[in-house]
Subunit: 246 residues, 2 copies
């Protein structure tokens, strides 16, 4: 059996997240990928994703792996798969992986981006890919506050109630806020993320950008481990899984 | 009666163009704007647009005008209208215009942008806003060929069969090709455009980028006035009306 590692991009707007749901009427990315692979190979293929993105969340660099007996060369796999995938999911590259490679367990680092559209009127072009924020934000303060996230911390304060991870200690390698016209991107790169962590961190940074919280309070929130001190969970459509490293 | 001039942005994907259709089942931008204005003011308002964008074509800076007896201050008109518009149409600003201002007849200059996504695999995020071109393009040659379009010319070679304009002479102020990663933007700014002119010019530039036509042939095509010598009409979703000047 070959073990194929593939990078996929998707617009999560029309999907109930990556992971297959018990309710077959809820379309998911995993299901769409498995259906396309079945069409292509005739095999019942089970796909493993590096990260289980939620409903409405996007990916530019989700990584999956799956086992197949198909003899399609990796060089042709991408184009062949794209010809049977819906247009909001695209395979970007495929390589032959070691037999025991596992897209989720082998992941060493993930990068997420949360995008805010900050203007007085919303944008029709970014509405599916950003959170519209009509009030003025102090991006410098957001940037300073984000820098306190870098390093090894207990991120309990940014963990949603439903999180099942055993430990809430993670190492943040990068936490940056970049402005590009009306767009404000929050980039977070870590060895792992707790449930809703990026969305709660972004909600906290928004409170800081608005002046509802002071820059220095970010340190206290991290130290407290108290979810009630952090900001709100921002909606899913601004979130994008950018990259997974192994 | 007040005459309101407004800038609107829209994602044309779900619409059969700007202009109201005889068939009421085909949704149009004009109809959606008139419906929202009726909701807001209680009046039967007729909207005039600067340019009649085709089905699937977008706008970042379409300009409209309409007459109203409403006393809503211009400063509040935008937010009020956005609260009743569908999310793929956004009012960006509103000003009081002279009584005889006409969004179409008073327009002096329009800028259109055609966007090409040039990579080996398509992008899910730009699929609604660009033409996917998987083959290598010589952007330098496209840029050189575009420069021949600047000035006053008879643009008959880039005019679709259905065009009803009396004269095909237009003045092109700007014709540039800009590259931004995988995106290639064709910017055209002129005192007016013939039917499908931007899409036929872009199709011709694509032939030049591919090497199907030589750079110098652009001059001959312009001079010939012969539609059959120019390139194909590229599809609508890459086209966006960027700006109208008065």
């Amino acid at each position: 059996m070959r073990n194929i590692k593939m990078t996929v991009e998707y617009d999560g707007t029309s999907y109930h997240g990556f992971q297959k749901q018990a309710d077959q009427n809820l379309p998911t990315i995993q299901e769409a990928l498995e259906k396309a692979l079945r069409k292509l190979t005739g095999e019942e293929i089970s796909v493993t994703g590096a990260g289980r993105t939620d409903a409405g969340v996007h990916a530019q660099g989700q990584v999956i792996n799956f086992y197949t007996e198909s003899s399609i060369p990796t060089g042709n796999f991408v184009r062949a798969l794209n010809s049977v995938l819906p247009e909001d999911i695209v395979a970007k590259d495929a390589v032959e992986a070691p037999g025991d490679f596992h897209a989720q367990f082998w992941a060493k680092k993930k990068t997420y981006r949360y995008t805010i559209f900050n203007d007085t009127v919303p944008s029709v072009f970014f509405r599916r890919y950003s959170l519209f924020v009509p009030y003025k934000l102090n991006v410098d303060n957001m940037r300073k506050a984000a820098s306190f996230l870098v390093g090894q911390h207990d991120f309990s304060a940014f963990r949603a109630a439903g999180s099942t991870a055993r430990s809430s200690i993670r190492t943040m390698y990068r936490a940056e806020v970049e402005q590009e016209g009306e767009l404000i991107h929050v980039y977070l790169e870590a060895n792992g993320f707790l449930y809703n962590m990026v969305r709660i961190i972004t909600g906290t940074l928004l409170y800081i950008g608005q002046g509802k919280l002071r820059v220095e309070e970010m340190k206290d929130i991290i130290a407290s481990g108290d979810r009630t001190l952090a900001g709100p969970t921002v909606p899913p459509q601004g979130l994008c899984l950018m990259r997974v490293e192994y």
